[in-house]
Amino acid sequence: MLAEIGHFALVLALGIAVVQVIFPFAGYRYGYQNWMAAAKPCARIQFVLLLTAFAVLTSAFVQNDFSLAYVAQNSNSALPLPYRISAVWGAHEGSLLMWVLILAGWTTAVSALESELPDDFVSLVLAVMGLVSVGFLLFMLFTSNPFDRLAQVPADGADLNPLLQDPGLIIHPPLLYMGYVGTTVAFGFALAALIQGRLTAISARWIRPWVVASWCFLTVGIALGSWWAYYELGWGGWWFWDPVENASFMPWLLGTALIHSIAVTEKRGSFKNWTLLLAIATFALSLLGTFLVRSGVLTSVHAFATDPARGVFVLALFAILIGGALALYAWRGPGAFSGNRFEGASRETFLLINSVLLAIATATVLLGTLFPLAHEAVGLGKISVGPPYFNLVFSLVMTPLAIALSFGQFARWKSDSASRLVSSFVYTLLAAVGITVAAYFSLGGNDFLLAGVGIFLGALVILSVVRGIWDRCRGRKNVLLTLWRLPRAFKGQTLAHVGFAVTLLGATVTSFYAVDEHVRMKPGDTQNVGHYEFDFVGLKKFEGPNYRATEGHFIVRKNGKTLAELYPQKRFYHVRNTPMTEAGILGGLTRDLYVSLGEPLEAGSWSVRIHYKPLVRWIWLGALFMALGGVTALSDPRLRNAKLARVAAGSAAHNG
C-alpha cells in the first residue's frame, strides 16, 4: 500500500511539472503575469511530492519489503542498515528518483533565493528546469519505475553489489548528483536569457553562485570516486579514464570554463555568447553522462542499465532538450548579445584562452570516450581508446593552461602587453625553474623530462598565486590585517588555483615515481619496496555480517624501525558470490604505503601487491582545496548583499 502512495506521488509530480512548464511559457508569450507566478508554487509542491516518494522507497528498503522488484534486486535481510538505506540509490531506478528529487531541490532553491532578479526571468528559469523534470519523470514512469511490484515475492533479496557496500560509496552518488543536476540551473538561466533575448551583467552575476555551488559538489564527488577506487579496488590506481569517470569529468571541465567565462561577462560584459553556449554544453554533458551510464552503449564498471529500450528514451530526451536549446541559440544568438572589446595580453584574453583550452580538453576527452563507438557505428570494427591517449592529450592541453593561469592573474583588464607581463614575472619564472632543478636532484629518474614539466607547472602556479598575494600586501603596514581583509572572492580564487596546482603536482609525482611490486609471498617472507621493508606475518580467517574474510597481517619497516602494521583483507560476499579486496594502507601527506592481497596460490602463499605512492594524497587534497576555494568565493557577502551587488554590477554595466 505504501509503495502505491510513492507511485502516485510520482504521477502527481509529473502533473505538477507539466503545469510548471506550460503556465510560465504561455504566460510569457501572452503576457499573463499570474500564469507566470505559477512557477514558484509548482516547484515547491513538486519537491514535497518527490521527497514523499523518496521517503516511501527508503522505508521499503529499511523494512525489507521484497515485494518491490527494485528492493528485491538490490537488498538483502543480512545487509547492514546503512547500506540498506544507501541501496535506495545503488541502482538505476532508485538513483533516477534521487536525480529528480535533487532537481526539484535545486528548482525550489532557485525559487526561494532569487529575489533580486525580475520575476518573469526567474519564472522562465523554473519553467525550463520543470521541462527537464518532466522528461525524467516520464522516463521513470514509463521505463524505470522503482515502485514496480513482483508477482511472486522472493524470500530474500539479491543483495547490494558488494562494491557499493562502503562508506565512500554511500555519499559519492548523492554528491555527484548534486553537481550534475546543479548544471540544470545554469541551463535554465541560459535558456531564459535566450528566450528574453538579453543577458545583462546582473543576471550573469546571479548565475555565478549556482554554477560555483554545483561545481563544488562535482569536484568533491569526483574526488571521492577517485579516492574510493584507490583504496577499494586494490590496484592502487586512482583514475582510469573509464567512460563514466569521463562522463563526470567533462561537465566539471566545462563548468570550470563556465565559471571563468561568467566572471568576465559579469565584470566586463564580454563573452556573452560563449557563456550561454558553455552553460548549455555543461548541462548537455551532464545529460550525456546519464545516457552513457544507462543505455548499454558502453560497457563500464559503472554501467547501470544495459537496456537499449531505456537508451532510446534517454537519447530522445537528450536530443529534444539540447537540440532545442542549440536551435534557440542559433536563432537568438546573433545580434542579441554583443560584447565589449578587449585586446592584447589583457586579462580577458587569458581568461578566453583558458576557457577555450578547457573546452578543448573536454572535447578531447569526449572524442576519446566516444571514438570506439563511432568507429564501430560506421562499420570499421571494434577498437578501444585508453589511458595512453587520454594521458597524453590531456597533459598537452593542461600545459599551456597552467602557464596562462599563472600569467593571467596579473594581466590588466581590457588591455595589457605581453612584454610588461613577462618582465614583471621574471623572478617568479626563475624561482619555478629553481624548484624544478631542485626536484631533479632529489628525485632524479629517467623520465625526468615529463615529470619535470609537471613539477615546473605546479610550482609556477603556486608561486604566481603567492606573488599575487604579495602584490596586494606590498607596502601595507599590517600584513596580517591586509590578508584578513582580502575579499573572499579573491581568497576563494587563490585557494582554488593552489588546489589545481597541488593536484597537478600529486598526479605528476605519483605517476612517475610510484613503485609497484606484485609478488608471491607466504607468511614469514619479507619484501623490499623502495626504502621500505614489508614483513608478511600471518593470515587469519573470520566471518563478517554478510561475508567471510581472510585477513593478512603485515609489518612495515624503514631502516629496521617499525612504522605500522597493516591488515589487508580479501572478502567473499555470500549472496552474490563475489570477492572484494580491502587494502591495508599507511597513509601520509608525503607518501602512501599500500598492501593488498591478490589470489591464494599453492602451498599457503598469496599473490600480494605492494605500492609506494609518493604525494598521492595531494591529488585529493588539491581537489578539496578547489572545492573549499569555491565555497569561500560563494560566501562573499558582496554576492548576497543586493545593494553591494547592484553597485558592483552597475559599474560593470557602465563599462559594458
Binding site: 537528450f318 537540440g323 541559440y329 542559433a330 546573433p334 566516444l370
Partner: protein, 173 residues
C-alpha cells in the same frame, strides 16, 4: 548566422552516432583470429592416448571445434544441439577438452553422449590460450584449409546454428 549553427550541427552528428551505437552490443568482441589459420599444436586424443592431433588433422573438410569441459554447466545446455548437428546434419565436430581431467571428461561424455569425432586433450589450456579462449563453451568453424572462419562465444543456440553455422558450413563445402 552561420557560426551559431555549428554547435547544433555538431550535436546532430553526436546524436546520430549515439543512436547507431544503441543497436550495437558492447559485449560482443570479435575474435582477431578470424581469417587466420589454426595455431600449430600437438596434443593427445581422448580415448586414444597414443594418437596425437595437430592442426594438420583439420585439413580437408570444414569442421566445428567445440571447446568444452566437464566442469562447465553451460556445456550441458548446448550439448544436445551438438548431438543433433553430428547425427542429423552430418557435421563433423572435434572437441577441445579444456583445463579438465581425462577421467572426468570420459565420465561426462558417457552421461551426456559423445558427438565428437575426436577430442583434443588440453589440460593446461595451452591451445585454448593460443585460440584466445576466454570462456567455456566456445565453438569455432574451421574450413578445409585449416583457417578459422567464425567463433561463437558462449553456448550455441538454434538461432546461431540456423543463421550462421549451417549456412557457413554449406558455403565452405
Amino acid at each position: 548566422m552561420n557560426r551559431y549553427l555549428i554547435p547544433a550541427v555538431i550535436f546532430i552528428g553526436l546524436v546520430a552516432i549515439l543512436g547507431v551505437g544503441l543497436n550495437l552490443d558492447p559485449r560482443h568482441v570479435p575474435s582477431p583470429l578470424i581469417g587466420k589459420p589454426l595455431p600449430s599444436f600437438s596434443l593427445a586424443s581422448l580415448y586414444e592416448p597414443d594418437r596425437s592431433i595437430s592442426e594438420t588433422t583439420f585439413l580437408g573438410k570444414p569442421r566445428l571445434l567445440n571447446v568444452w569441459a566437464s566442469w562447465c554447466s553451460a556445456c550441458v545446455v548446448e550439448h544436445p544441439l551438438l548431438i543433433a548437428l553430428a547425427q542429423q546434419k552430418n557435421v563433423e565436430i572435434f572437441g577441445l577438452n579444456y583445463k579438465d581431467e581425462p577421467r572426468k571428461a570420459e565420465a561426462w561424455l558417457k552421461k551426456h553422449n559423445n558427438p565428437y569425432k575426436s577430442i583434443i586433450v588440453d589440460p593446461e589450456g595451452d591451445l585454448g590460450l593460443d585460440l584466445g579462449v576466454y570462456g567455456v563453451p566456445e565453438t569455432f568453424v574451421i574450413d578445409k584449409l585449416g583457417i578459422i572462419r567464425y567463433k561463437q562465444v558462449g553456448p550455441l543456440d538454434n538461432q546461431a546454428i540456423e543463421e550462421i553455422i549451417l549456412p557457413l558450413l554449406d558455403e565452405l563445402s
